[in-house]
């Protein structure tokens, strides 16, 4: 066959385009059926146990996949994603940090979904060195408290609690001042707060209800923070728009939102929206 070089060139282009289109189409088809490959999920520290379990279930359901996790304070993850960290999915412990990542354009706001709720509790070591019985005791002189720092979602929620308490006559402004002056350390994620209480290094800390369920050694006791003082922590999840494996990233998000994923979250102490 003797083709005019110009026609041959066009012909080649056409074939290449067709090939690309077929691949893309096959890709979306595969997405609907069986995702494969590897993704990295950036998830709030409080999700460590629940997401590790969900990751195992997900890999069992889709055998050709591997889900790696990076757990840290949501504020650290959001910061890392802002600097271009290779995340495929982001699960935050508050909506503020999800919005911060949306601002970087690496997440499309329309693709973010709320998938879990949580709330705060006060935890103290089983030995109860400060003899705590009720919330008011946190203001006693000499009690040592550990909180997450204010940029960490759990730290922000803890400050919300103190502000709400300050507005109630049974606690008052003095309560907030006294509690704040008892704080000996602001940690970088909620699990570090929890670890220090499990170790007995401080008298009390403020963590999520779900964290307490993760304590298999039963080393801590809790004081409930009543609903009117508590803040419902809302967890959003979203795939990254520049994920090299969008099919798998979407499949993971879908799985977290599916009845199976939600049941696992519930088992690990999260409330379901």
């Amino acid at each position: 066959m003797n083709m005019n070089p110009h026609i041959r060139h066009t012909f080649r282009k056409l074939i290449a385009t067709a090939l690309i289109l077929t691949t893309l189409f096959a890709g979306t088809q595969a997405h609907a059926q069986m995702p494969t490959g590897e993704i990295t999920v950036y998830a709030a520290a409080s999700l460590r146990d629940a997401f590790t379990a969900i990751g195992r279930d997900f890999e069992a359901k889709y055998p050709d996949t591997r889900v790696a996790f990076s757990f840290a304070g949501s504020q650290q993850l959001a910061e890392q994603i802002g600097y271009g960290a290779p995340a495929d999915v982001f699960a935050s412990a508050n909506e503020k940090l999800m919005k911060a990542v949306v601002k970087t354009t690496r997440i499309d706001a329309a693709q973010a979904h709320r998938f879990a709720h949580n709330q705060l509790v006060v935890v103290y070591p089983k030995s109860n060195p400060a003899r705590l019985r009720k919330l008011n005791d946190l203001a006693k002189k000499g009690v040592t408290l550990v909180l997450a720092n204010k940029a960490v979602p759990a730290g922000g929620y803890a400050l919300d609690f103190l502000n709400k308490a300050a507005a109630k006559p049974e606690f008052g402004l003095l309560y907030r001042t006294a509690v704040l002056s008892n704080i000996v350390s602001y940690e970088e994620d909620v699990r570090t707060v929890f670890a220090k209480i499990v170790l007995g290094e401080a008298d009390a800390g403020i963590v999520y209800a779900s964290d307490v369920l993760a304590d298999k050694a039963k080393a801590v006791r809790t004081i409930t923070i009543p609903v009117e003082l508590n803040t419902v922590a809302v967890y959003p999840i979203a795939p990254l728009v520049d994920s090299p494996n969008p099919a798998l990233a979407h499949a993971f998000v879908d799985y977290v939102l599916s009845p199976a994923g939600q049941a696992t979250l519930k088992r690990y102490g999260f409330a379901i929206p």
């Binding site: 040592t144 204010k150 350390s185 970088e188 170790l199």
Partner: protein
């Protein structure tokens, strides 16, 4: 002096350029990014508090290191038996330990529920989350750098000079004070300066063992970590300050050593 052939130099030069740029580029980047907002960021209360805390805790740490490190180094330098050589190796351990290991170890030993923490607590010396814990972490990681330099310094002192002084009737303290110490001094100073630089930047052991509270345990390295997540200009300003301090310290140490070599 014969000139070295130029060709074999090319490859080592490329390698040196690669290594140097790896070290210099991040420093330059920090200077470039940090400089515009430096003045404003340095004025922030949290930044000032971190600088002050770092300055005085590392000064106390250095004092402690000198007081307990000097006699230790002298002992190790004067003994060569197997037992002392094991001690010699142990003294270097903190240099190779990851900071997280150091922090967890200190927590397990001196923490409230640690090995001797409860005793300290009943004595009214609670270390957990205290500024004292910051200093202990600094001593732990920085002391080996001083002790190593001091051992070398003491070993380089001519023993005959000490013997002559003894024959002349000098006491042990006099010999140390007027012969050993002055001769080893440049090495001790260089070691002290390096150790101080190390304690300035101490991070891992501190955040695990001492916690993170502005004014009490939040040193510059911790403040950089925390503000990186919420206040980048503050993080960059602190980084720049720490960088300048470390650079000054290392150059001083190098000058001291050169002065030593030429004397």
């Amino acid at each position: 002096m014969p000139r070295a052939p130029s060709l074999p130099h090319a490859l080592p030069l490329v390698a040196a350029a690669a290594l140097l740029s790896l070290i210099v580029l991040p420093l330059a980047a920090i200077a470039v990014r940090g400089a515009p907002e430096f003045a404003a960021a340095v004025g922030a209360a949290e930044v000032r508090s971190a600088v002050a805390l770092t300055a005085w805790t590392s000064a106390i740490a250095l004092l402690v290191i000198l007081l307990i490190g000097t006699p230790t180094a002298w002992l190790v330098a004067r003994h060569r038996s197997r037992g002392w050589r094991i001690i010699d190796a142990l003294l270097d351990l903190p240099v190779v330990l990851p900071p997280s290991v150091a922090g967890l170890g200190l927590l397990m030993a001196f923490g409230r529920t640690g090995l001797i923490g409860p005793v300290l607590n009943t004595l009214g010396i609670p270390l957990a989350f205290s500024t004292a814990a910051v200093i202990i972490a600094q001593v732990f990681v920085a002391a080996p750098l001083y002790v190593r330099a001091a051992i070398v310094g003491f070993r380089s002192v001519d023993r005959d000079l000490e013997r002559v002084a003894m024959v002349e009737g000098a006491g042990a303290w006099q010999i140390f004070r007027f012969i050993t110490l002055p001769l080893a001094l440049p090495a001790l100073m260089a070691g002290a300066v390096t150790a101080w630089a190390r304690s300035l930047g101490e991070f891992g052991a501190t955040i695990l063992f001492a916690g993170n509270l502005v004014g009490r345990t939040q040193t510059m390295a911790l403040a950089i970590y925390t503000s990186f997540q919420s206040d980048l200009p503050a993080a960059l300003a602190l980084t720049l300050l720490l960088l300048l301090a470390s650079l000054t310290v290392l150059v001083t140490a190098r000058l001291l050593r050169t002065a030593d070599a030429s004397s």
